[in-house]
């Protein structure tokens, strides 16, 4: 029994059918962790990208170091650090929030590069034309740069959403009961790991395929030239 739901071990089929709703409960946790992690990554990445592009080294340099550190150390270490070290300094977060935060932090380093690359891909001539027309810097960013960069940024961000989903099972080490954790508990109690783990694999494939095709659709819907302005 898990989450007040029972399983039926009479046959393989009845077992699979009976644990599906339990696994789906775990999947809901996985999706929530991925969603919150992704939103954090997208927002923190924007902040990091902004800081890294500041002209003053005293601001840009630490932002670069932080970004490099987040990207080049394992997620598991960051996760343990947040989970076991922060409470020593009086910061106690629920396991789920700790996990989502760790995902958001690590992926913010990647998303900050997505923003930077999206903006740097705007040809120099666009800025020169805007300047020749005497448009203000702010107006140039808002109306010339952003609508063109966003068409490159959104699909690239979407790819990281898929990666984040696939990293959520790591959160089970800090006692977040997401889909893989649920499968393991079922296996521990029934001595049948094959069926729950296979089902998790299948459900994961389904999730990532749906997410990937949604991104592809978005990519096709967003014109390469940018958000059209009439």
């Amino acid at each position: 029994m898990l989450f007040d739901m029972h399983w039926n071990t009479d046959t393989h089929w009845s077992f699979a059918v009976s644990i599906l709703p339990i696994l789906l409960r775990g999947m809901w946790v996985t999706l929530q962790a991925a969603a919150i992690g992704f939103v954090l990554a997208a927002l923190l990445g924007l902040v990091l990208a902004g800081l890294k592009s500041v002209r003053y080294r005293i601001i840009a340099w630490p932002a670069r170091v932080i970004s490099e550190f987040l990207r080049d150390t394992p997620l598991l270490i960051q996760l343990f650090f947040l989970y076991y070290v922060l409470p020593d300094y009086g910061i106690v977060l629920p396991a789920f929030m700790t996990g989502a935060l760790a995902l958001g932090l690590q992926y913010s380093a990647y998303t900050s590069e997505v923003y930077r690359a999206g903006i740097e891909a705007i040809p120099k001539g666009q800025y020169e034309a805007a300047r020749a027309l005497d448009l203000s810097n702010l107006h140039t960013f808002r109306v010339i740069v952003l609508p063109q960069a966003i068409a490159r940024i959104i699909p690239a961000l979407g790819n990281y959403l898929v990666s984040i989903m696939k990293d959520v099972p790591l959160l089970s080490v800090v006692s977040v009961v997401e889909m893989l954790g649920v499968a393991k508990i079922i296996g521990d109690r029934t001595f049948n790991y094959l069926i729950p783990l296979s089902m998790v694999g299948g459900l994961y494939l389904l999730m990532t395929l749906i997410a990937a095709s949604a991104i592809r659709l978005l990519d096709r819907k967003l014109p390469a030239q940018g958000i059209p302005l009439k």
Binding site: Q126, R131, A132, L133, Q148
Partner: protein, 254 residues
């Protein structure tokens, strides 16, 4: 004021690293004058336009536009480097057409043209649209207003770029090799538009080009640039038919 030259370079120096692009350049263009600049690549001729459009700062000397220093402001009797507010004001005198058009690809033709008049000059949407229609008619693209740049040929795109610059109603138009990126069969339509503009007496026109026949046809004066200096300048017929300097002769014989 009206006796001031439209453009004046006084001992202007421009360097990129150790390379001198403009070497103590003196150049004066009268109001309404049509001047073509010719010369080999890397001779600094495009840099003259880019300095005027405030896309490249200068290292020494002074540039005047309509009698006022472009890159400097007067503080008492001395000239100090200009702030952005001054540059923004000075840019209103000039419009520029680029070799690569540099249209905004995500905007319709109309929006490309109306964006700056609306947000820089403060025109109403309706007024800006009327102005866009007026200049689109001038470049012969009335029926293309709602298209996006990618739906147009190179020649049409460059004509939109000309309309976009004109819609700011500058007194000075700068053309930086406007036909160099075009397929040969599209060059004519763009030159035709520039030629029509050249017939306006009050418009000052500065053209960097490799189209010698065209430069000869529309210019009051042609300047031959080489290695950051004006080697020779004069009326087009004189410069093209009887060049005095060996470097000019060698260049024109190519």
């Amino acid at each position: 004021m009206t006796n001031n030259p439209a453009i004046e370079f006084k001992r202007v120096v421009k360097k990129f690293g150790d390379t001198t692009i403009l070497n103590n350049l003196d150049l004066s263009v009268a109001q309404g004058e049509k001047v073509s600049i010719i010369g080999p690549s890397g001779s600094g001729k495009s840099t003259v336009l880019r300095i005027l459009m405030t896309l490249e700062p200068i290292d020494d000397g002074v540039v005047y536009v309509a009698g006022r220093p472009l890159w400097h402001e007067k503080q008492g009797d001395v000239l100090v480097p200009a702030r952005e507010a001054h540059l923004r004001e000075m840019r209103k005198h000039m419009g520029m057409v680029f070799q690569q058009f540099n249209l905004f690809p995500h905007m319709t033709v109309r929006r490309n043209i109306t964006e700056a008049p609306r947000h820089v000059l403060g025109l109403t949407q309706q007024h800006a649209n009327e102005r866009a229609d007026e200049y689109l008619a001038l470049v012969g693209l009335t029926e293309h207003a709602d298209k996006f740049p990618r739906q147009l040929s190179g020649g049409q795109q460059q004509r939109v770029a000309i309309a976009r610059a004109l819609a700011m109603q500058p007194q000075i138009m700068l053309f930086d090799e406007p036909t160099s990126a075009l397929d040969p069969e599209l060059v004519g339509e763009v030159l035709q538009v520039i030629q029509n503009l050249a017939s306006k007496d009050d418009l000052t026109l500065l053209l960097v080009t490799h189209e010698m026949q065209f430069a000869r046809k529309i210019s009051d004066r042609v300047c031959f640039f080489d290695k950051g200096e004006i080697v020779e300048q004069g009326a087009p017929d004189a410069l093209f038919d009887t060049p005095q300097e060996p470097r000019t002769q060698a260049f024109l014989q190519r």
